[in-house]
């Protein structure tokens, strides 16, 4: 039976083999040693398109999705509204079935949209240049550290303990082959100032901090930036792009590199990927920036056009001397961010950010009033906050699940000093009813457990 993805018929194949000058297709594989040719491969049987759609439905129906369940889980991946323009446009076949714009004349669509994306990331972060993206927030942070190490010729990287635990883990993996020391997160309870007091010196290549941090706290980092710069180190800020609809851009408080997880800009939460690594910096670091850059130029008739530029930094030209081994970017995710930011625009993004802010503060105040629960309302936060709980978070979340609520992130493993602590994220997707239901459910967890005890 012919396969729908392969147009050649038996007659086509016969004619082609004849033109090639062989008797059979097997002859074309004669350079593969017979002892390893045509092994038995144990795969399931082929499925027709109808059977495939049944199989896909079977798998998806086993998953508790965020449409039928209220989600208060964030911790680096956020449930935000995606306007219909975004899926409609990124699923245009001209975008998603194209490749890297190697031939710029017939890739202007991809090139111009990435140029627009780069511009919007600059506007959002206040930085002078943004690349065409990295894999995700974690790898963007690692590439930021590599830029700083190469620029300063120093070998110490300081990370704040409230940088996302997976970003810190990724950074360590990326730098394991380099002679680099990564410090600052030995004690998960240490404050940023304590970390700087202990480690910052003239051997420091960079300091990486998240704002808001992994525990949701927003801080004024101007004084820290000055301290870091006084030692000749670079200041790398990992930012949550939706928060930049409301808060001061990191450039204004002294960031040299801004990285971040761009998923929240129009990309579905999708079990962790594909996401979008935001990377923005100053023009003085352009030659040390990894990844693709799109630049504006003109054609032979003087018309504006766009090309991949400054490619002499990259692996396909520099090989072992390249700034990074990165080849692709997350072009389609960057396009989603570009369409998202165009659709919401200046007032819409501010509105989304304010909705997150107000709803999160409403939730935090209500939860803080529950007996046994506590939120430190003196700490400034955007849309995510730590709740100290009367019971282990895993138990609470299991109870919430029965009420179609996906509870917050359990901090017990990475931040044990906080005790039974849950990180709750609230976005514009959470209605007042959902927040009230969460508060009621949390209250009931307590009473239910109390009775049992």
């Amino acid at each position: 039976m012919p396969h729908p993805y392969i147009p050649n018929t038996d007659a086509d194949r016969a004619a082609m083999l004849n033109a090639i000058g062989v008797q059979s297709a097997d002859e074309l594989f004669a350079d593969i040693s017979a002892d390893v040719r045509d092994p038995k491969i144990n795969l399931p049987r082929a499925l027709s398109e109808l059977e495939l759609s049944r199989e896909i439905a079977r798998l998806t129906l086993q998953n508790a999705n965020l449409v039928e369940n209220a989600c208060f889980l964030g911790a680096g991946a956020y449930n935000h509204f995606i306007p219909a323009t975004v899926p409609h446009l990124i699923f245009r076949t001209e975008f998603y079935t194209a490749y890297t714009p190697y031939q710029p004349e017939i890739s202007q669509g991809t090139l111009q949209t990435i140029f627009e994306y780069q511009s919007m990331i600059c506007d959002l972060t206040g930085m002078e240049l943004a690349n065409a993206s990295h894999y995700d927030g974690a790898t963007a942070a690692a590439e930021g550290a590599i830029l700083a190490i190469n620029h300063t010729h120093r070998d110490k990287v300081i990370v704040c303990p409230t940088l996302h635990p997976e970003y810190r883990a990724t950074l360590r993996t990326y730098l394991v082959g380099q002679d680099v020391e990564i410090v600052g997160d030995e004690d998960p309870s240490a404050t940023f100032d304590q970390v700087l007091d202990k480690h910052l010196d003239d051997k420091t290549a960079c300091v990486i901090v998240a704002n808001p941090d992994f525990l949701g706290q927003v801080r004024d980092l101007k004084a820290a930036a000055d301290r870091i710069h006084a030692q000749g180190a670079l200041f790398i800020v990992s930012a949550y792009p939706i928060s930049l609809g409301l808060y001061q851009p990191p450039a204004e408080y002294g960031a040299d590199v801004v990285v971040g997880e761009g998923q929240s800009l129009g990309n579905p939460i999708a079990f962790g990927g594909p996401y979008l690594g935001i990377f923005a910096t100053k023009m003085e670091f352009v030659r040390r920036t990894a990844g693709r850059l799109i630049g504006q130029t003109t054609d032979t008739k003087g018309r504006r056009g766009f090309v991949l530029t400054l490619t002499t930094r990259e692996q396909h030209i520099r090989r072992e001397k390249a700034t990074s081994n990165i080849c692709t970017n997350q072009a389609l995710n960057a396009l989603a961010a570009c369409v998202y930011l165009s659709t919401l625009g200046k007032t819409g993004l501010r509105q989304v950010a304010e909705l997150c802010y107000h709803k999160a503060h409403y939730a935090a105040k209500k939860i803080n009033r529950l007996p046994g629960y506590r939120v430190d309302l003196k700490k400034e936060f955007f849309n995510e906050f730590v709740v100290e709980c009367p019971h282990p978070v895993a138990e609470i979340n299991a109870t919430l699940r029965e009420k179609k609520i996906i509870g917050g992130y359990d901090l017990a493993k990475e931040y044990p000093h906080l005790g039974n602590a849950m990180l709750i994220a609230v976005t514009e997707m959470n209605t007042k009813e959902q927040i009230d239901a969460l508060v009621d459910a949390l209250a009931q967890v307590k009473s239910k457990k109390g009775k049992r005890a």
Partner: protein
Amino acid sequence: MSIVSNKTEPLIYELSSPGRIGAALPDCDVPKTELPKSARAELKLPEVSEVDVVRHFTRLSQKNYCVDLGIYPLGSCTMKYNPKINEEAVKLRGFAQIHPYQDADGTQGALEMMYALQTMLGEISGLPGVTLQPAAGAQGELTGILVIRAYHLARKDAKRKKVLVPDSAHGTNPATSSMSGYAVVNIKTDARGNIDLDELRKLADDATVCLMLTNPNTLGLFEENVQAACQIVHDAGGLVYGDGANLNAIVGVARPGDYGIDVLHSNLHKTFSVPHGGGGPGAGPVMVRDFLAPFLPGPIVVKARPERSRRKGKRYAFAMPKKSVGRVKSFYGNFLALVRAYVYIRAFGKEHLREIAENAVINANYLLARLRDTYSAPYGFRRCKHEFVLTGTPFKEKYGVNTLDIAKRIQDYGYYPPTVYFPLTVPECLMIEPTETQSKESLDEFADALIKIAEEARTNPQLLHDAPHDAPVTRLDEVKAAREPVLRYKH
């Protein structure tokens, strides 16, 4: 080309008009809290209506060539057709709307798919240890080299510092090696297009971390001595890293694990039909031999322990391999790319898998047969695999037409040009990979166009120098773009 494609499209910023918005948002339904003191003063994003957004990006889309328009013969990129059911699968809420930190009892369908994909990739490659985490081929390479590094260090063999890389390799191979802290030693290609075994014998020693081998290589040739090459490296105590960029040529026909490869990455966006998205996202899972599996990045999906599954209804769970090199990114990999690859492999199954490679190789050899008398094929004395290289040197010498001119002229015929000037070892190189999803008719049309262009090079070289003539823009000034970089819109 479309009726709007030759008009210059303004930047979205230039379409902005104060007061417009592209999506309505709900009013705030909770009591408001005072806004922070550090709120930003201004945000310079465009202000456009929904229809402005849709028209702008639709018009831009029409300035792109894409696989769904026709042959996209970029060598080593495997621009095959992207089946539409894959795209329907990733839109479903049970895949697109699940949080990576949800309790595993609410994501068993996702974990089951990942476990099955791990198993199938292990089976197809002959390498049973699998991590799905790497986000792209280059990240798969980094993962693989770090796994090999961890293996050597675990055996207390710290003196190994050099990675052997054939001169025809992708640039990511040497870049990955130096990123991992290793020195790169290049190995020549011999006259038949294989890795030079004598040189390999000389260079493989107790300082060798591994050989990075792309097979079939970027000349489109299967390494005739691959088993001997792997043996030489193994005898020296090193391992062999297989760059699976060209796996499409042999999928179902031969398994890298069977001929001596220890570690392999596979670009799911090449062999397994994940769309290229204008440059990403892809996915680059890594497969390894059993003894290397403990070093893989995680978490990976495992079958849940029976006592746990009885208690919580969990059949699958995440686990970190015992001696893992750590994470290479956040979360578990480019999940939606994994979904597409899973659906694709299930669509072929054991009955049809081999047809992918078989037709890819027939198509490439047929195209080579159609073009070899017109263009010079430096390795045309051998059968190619999924792709082949041509050189434009004769056109340059005789008519002053270089490969870039040929590539630009191909655009006028309504096709994407092949990869050009790569591999670096072939001067004026054109590297052509048709894939199995082209019909004979479409290959004939493409070959006819290339033959006609060769004739134009002889009779009217200026036509090629000035090409493209029908694209949305003519040739762009890349020197100016690099010399005076404009990387963003200036307000």
